[in-house]
Point group: C2
Chain length 435, copies 2
């Protein structure tokens, strides 16, 4: 008999069916044994009357793998409005040990039990609510790629073992590479810019590594990054348009197609319009000052409180909880960014639900200017990690720009989780290298 | 004026247009200057008569970034049967240095110039033929994901920084992780099996790392792997079915939608049927013996020559150049594979165009048997790298199986390249860590 999945059971109502899955819950009610079976599509409720069948489950714990045959019968109160009667049970894998954490409870991600959660992650993910987070994440990845293919982007895979640290800085993992020193790529920055010279428009979704010494809710040492780069732009506003269209397209699609799951996870409603509001840092400082009385105009960056405030402001007044901060200061620039006017960079930050999720700069594509910015930043253009990079500019790269953002962070903010680690299957931080 | 891409130019025939791209070729013919402009979609030919315009190009080399306005005119002999006349040239980025390698030639991947090719990879990829390889690779990735989504698989991202070497063996990169020893994941083997307990069906496309000490055409230290795992199978033949359907679906789609590019790269014709032939190793040894007179039945594996022979045999006699070798010997098993009958493993190899591209085993899902196989293999089930893994079995994993195969290798074999490195943008081997 062919296996029927939970989500299809209702259409088999009135028939004899076979289902397979994990024992998810067992309870006695009015002399009857009710069990819930979990499969990849949901839960199936079965009512067991026959003493011999009930006996087969004696001592068996959650996680036991079962095959049930029985009759599908309409039942309003059961998951999917259908349940199994006259059940015959076959135990495929018997589990006799109680799980160390309960998996049949709603999410409880208070920071005090987060470490326990991750210690038992291999089992905790079987919680239907946990699993939903990662189904939604998988969908996000799919929608992002769909959008980028549509926009003529080519997917690339660039090396994670590299000769130098692209972004400079100390937060880099080093390793011995057959007697040479290699580092783990913090981003595909140099490679995606090189690839603009080949395909104009490229993207990559891949792990990136940072030796973050901080133990906070935000710091992890391995993230999944979306990196995008596009050539033949007039300035960074074209890259902002692309990012805005990507976020708008992907999130409205997710809320449309996966609204029920988002709701059941307590995700906030989506407030987005196709054109995200754009405010300069100076404007934001002034508006924030006027509203709160706090003058932070001396800060080179938006303060965390300002980031929250402007998103909330924009949500209420502009009907959009994603907002660009433009006119970023030159002092925030990396060597590969392009200078703007009057001490600014040709760059903007995208803020969403209170945090920055991406910086969107135009790159310096002029060979002479780039080399001079590299030297100023203490980067040697002729070193093995950079010589191919600069050669791409010497032999012609058009004006281009791009961005990178963390898939983990996006998942966290979309669902409304408290901690980026909750959006990562097996997070890595300064204290955690397993499971 | 809006930019027109090479592929759309024909539809603008008779109109004034603006195009942008790289100077790809310049030549004098009968007193006229012909230039080819490369953009992301192809080549555009422009004919320049005006001396002032020709003068703008003096001393400028391949790679120069240009904006041209002119009239699109039908011309049978031009790429896309259209060319630009009455051209006005704007130099966006001037390149004055000749490229160190020619990019307007057909592929020349003889092993004697492979190192030069990779030294100048950042520029060599601008060769239209090189670029095609990686466009096809991007499409392969897309088609693979499309197929797997369709089959109810969830995409996962598992950590590449891990506490122990999943597969054992010495070929593992080690690094200091905040004072602890970490290794770079050779595969997501343990994690994808854990995730069967959550989603039943999972896949990941991600980098994998092997410290390969050999310097051959086949050995690279960083590969892009597709990993697939599925639960609730009756035996490994169901996983073989899935892999067969995936390969058939993806390759027939690629040959259908990208046939022209494949042909221009010299890819062999595709000879595939929906059901791949399945021969046992014993049968293959016997058939090979009978045909060639060579008796290799004592080998635990198929010899490289046998692999080539059986693929060729199957192509000619079965009309399919993909073939499964079944009845693999128990001695080839890893600790997480399941034993079969009479000294065999529940496993098969998929061979395609003369080489093995994937091994397709059922896993040992029974907790007791697994732990005993681990111990026999010298793996400590209670060590940090394995304790979460075994807990997933102790709390119930259904019969499952899966496979991993290299996207690089698949791309190489599909296009018919000589060397897996040619299918990698920036390959890494024992001698090469850049660009």
């Amino acid at each position: 008999m062919e296996r029927v999945l939970a989500r299809d059971l209702k259409t088999h109502s009135g028939s004899k069916v076979m289902v397979e899955g994990w024992l998810h819950k067992k309870r006695l009610l009015g002399g009857l044994t009710f069990i819930n079976i979990r499969d990849r599509s949901g839960l199936i409720q079965a009512v067991i009357k026959d003493k011999n069948e009930v006996e087969k489950l004696r001592g068996l714990q959650v996680g036991t793998v079962l095959r049930l045959t029985g009759s599908a019968v309409d039942e309003e109160r059961a998951p999917g409005q259908v349940e199994l009667h006259d059940v015959n049970i076959e135990v495929i894998v018997a589990v006799t040990e109680e799980p160390p954490i309960e998996i049949d409870k709603p999410l409880s991600h208070k920071s005090d039990n987060l470490e326990t959660l991750f210690d038992y992650r291999a089992l905790g993910l079987r919680n239907l609510q946990e699993a939903k987070i990662f189904k939604l994440r998988s969908e996000l990845l799919r929608y992002i790629r769909d959008f980028l293919y549509e926009q003529d982007f080519v997917e690339i895979n660039t090396p994670k073992l590299v000769a130098g640290a692209a972004e400079g800085g100390a937060e880099v993992f080093k390793l011995d590479y057959f007697g040479k020193e290699a580092t783990l790529a913090q981003s595909p920055q140099l490679y995606k810019q090189i690839m603009v010279g080949v395909f104009e428009r490229v993207f990559e979704i891949a792990p990136a590594f940072r030796a973050e010494l901080s133990a906070t809710t935000r710091h992890v040492s391995e993230v999944t990054m979306l990196d995008v780069e596009m050539g033949f732009i007039s300035d960074h506003s074209e890259v902002m348009d692309l990012l805005q269209n990507l976020v708008f397209n992907v999130l409205t699609r997710l809320y449309k197609e996966r609204g029920e799951e988002l709701k059941s996870l307590g995700a906030p409603d989506l407030t987005l319009k196709a054109d995200f509001p754009r405010y300069s840092m100076k404007q934001i400082h002034e508006m924030y000052h006027k509203e709160t009385g706090k003058d932070v105009s001396k800060e080179i960056d938006l303060t965390p409180d300002e980031e929250k405030w402007i998103c909330e402001y924009s949500r209420k007044n502009d009907g959009c909880e994603a907002v660009f901060a433009t006119g970023l200061p030159e002092s925030k620039m990396k060597f590969y960014h392009m200078k703007g006017e009057e001490g600014t960079a040709r760059s903007a930050d995208l803020l969403f639900r209170g945090v920055e999720i991406a910086t969107v700069p135009q790159r310096e594509h002029r060979y002479g200017e780039l080399v001079s910015q590299m030297k100023k930043a203490g980067v040697d253009p002729s070193s093995p990690g950079f010589s191919a990079y600069v050669s791409a500019f010497r032999h012609g790269l058009p004006p281009h720009g791009g961005f990178g953002f963390g898939i983990d962070r996006l998942t966290e903010k979309v669902i409304g989780l408290d901690n980026v680690k909750e959006a990562i299957l097996f997070p890595r931080d300064i204290n955690r290298l397993s499971p």
